[in-house]
Symmetry: C2
Subunit: 394 residues, 2 copies
Amino acid sequence: MENITKILFDLFLMYACAKGMGELFERLKQPQVIGEIIAGILLGPYLLNIVPLTEFYKVLAEIGVIILLFTIGLQTKVDEMIKVGGTALVVAVLGVAFPFVFGYLYTLIIAHQTIEAMFIGAAMVATSVGITARVLADLKILDSQVAKVILGAAVIDDVIALIVLAVVTGLGKGALSYVKIGLVLLEAVGFILFLIIISKRVLPYFAPKALNLFKMQNAPFVLAILLCLGLSFVASYIDLAAIVGAFMAGMVLAELNLEFRLSLKAESLYDFLVPFFFVVMGMQVDLSVFTHLNIIGAALILTLFAILGKLLGCGLGALPLGWRSATLVGVGMVPRGEVGMIIASLGLSMGAISGDLYSVVIFMVVATTLLAPLILRRMIIKSPQLEKGKNLNG
Amino acid sequence: MENITKILFDLFLMYACAKGMGELFERLKQPQVIGEIIAGILLGPYLLNIVPLTEFYKVLAEIGVIILLFTIGLQTKVDEMIKVGGTALVVAVLGVAFPFVFGYLYTLIIAHQTIEAMFIGAAMVATSVGITARVLADLKILDSQVAKVILGAAVIDDVIALIVLAVVTGLGKGALSYVKIGLVLLEAVGFILFLIIISKRVLPYFAPKALNLFKMQNAPFVLAILLCLGLSFVASYIDLAAIVGAFMAGMVLAELNLEFRLSLKAESLYDFLVPFFFVVMGMQVDLSVFTHLNIIGAALILTLFAILGKLLGCGLGALPLGWRSATLVGVGMVPRGEVGMIIASLGLSMGAISGDLYSVVIFMVVATTLLAPLILRRMIIKSPQLEKGKNLNG
């Protein structure tokens, strides 16, 4: 029982600090989400050490980010995603290629290790769609074409990142199976295509009648949660990130969203659970490693490459949307997140990368996470024409 | 990452089984909550052993029951509770005295141990308000006077149970401090009175203006969650059950409920989180200990005393409401829950009670939990006059 008392205290403190800092940042006209991350840095084991970084909070954070992507998915109709699909694919591929090459070459120059360079390159690949989606949602422009390209590309680059991870891990272990790479690719593409077909061909005709058969209260919302948990599990099981499944679950249900007020109901889960994700992200930041000048230098240079890689790669891919939209897409893809951290920690545990380079990757993840929302918000507020459903150039 | 895959699978399975069994029981015209508990028995370590009973799920269950009591509290106005306060107090006191004496005397007869008898008596005292509140909510009669007496008495008997626990633990350790007993009592009563004053004198004048100062989205709901987490922690910290704090948080906000649509927003949290509480309760049931005839006999007799104790004690206390309402209150107070289990496991760990008697207490908790909703539902459905806000005799 003492255990539960401490956990309730922690939860209260995390939630209070997240919302308090969020409120402060909102008043400073900055993204609330940065306030929530800073709340985590403050409370976490590396600074004030008030809240321990336990397995429980990590899982709670995972549930939070699942709810976040599910909510985003609910507002993303399949048709609109297909419309931007071609652009998103090009944005994703170029947005993977540029940062990988930048990270690979830079590490090769400073560390002379091919495997280490591969890992650092891989860690620079995956966009953290959670951060960007949150900023887009806070600014209420999820409906814009730019937002749709960013979300589509982020889902695709998550898939690519996991294939890159499979390749790099294979190289790290000294053995590389083409069969495994093919399998990951096949599973990921099959999963996404299957869900798109279900949502277009089956659900619209079947769901409204089926829902009437249930006697329980709030059946549509209960079944939506069930689908969200189920697809998050499936995505995680086939080695995709769980959040890809959560996003797909939301997208599959997007057509039914208005009729059954799913977004409205999911909003409460969002208010309660999502802040814990950003607080826990902040709790994992160790500021103390950056006391050595050469590590600070490497961290700054890698961060610069991480930003330039997405800006050039994704911007180039989004050029058909016009110069201004392309820049927005480029900036929107800059934040890295948990996938980058996971790849780096995997490399560390396999002995493929050094502790110093691990810290450098973590810095890059945090810096891109903190910087991108600031720039994105500033750019979007300066673009009053970027209203709901409108393309900047359309 | 494999860890999170398994957890997502477990969460999906727990939620799916809870809702599936709930739907089945709804169709059988039985309380959904029993379906959810049975889902837990099926999945748990003692039967199919699919979902492990980890610390994570126990905490998730605790958050679930906190949300449950918070939601109930939101629908319970302070004025109406004060109106039934006198009756609730008498119901609570008699409902503690009768089961304690029954349990004490029966254990003394079969086991001849005073300390053991004290522990068993104490374990029979506390009503599990969660179960009854859920049944009352499912039947949509939370507004009735009977429901208010039950909820008020359950909160009071939780306080008394914790004082009894303090006394019995003191006896078990061989030393008993009157100061400590006084302190627990003072803290509990002070906490509740303080909150009632805040909710009557401060909040109605202060809250609507204060809420306008916030810039964040959904500020009223966010602050309601904060209050719920905060008071749950405080209640837990002063050795009350956390759910007493959650209930009080809801009750304090009940006056603002309609204006800020708090119940409506909390409903989504309820739909997502509350089922995990009942599933985890079911997961803790070990059916295998009941293979010895004498243990089955003792379990049945103790269960009978547990039912009679509340029926007679609480029924007697509620007699001023009329015979029929008194019976409903008596039955509504029958379910025991986690407090009974905690007292029993404490006695076991202190060597004050035997393993067999521990199993007997667990059986009593489970049996009262499963039986009471069945009887309550049957009685309420047969009482069509028990409509919102109406007393059976008024």
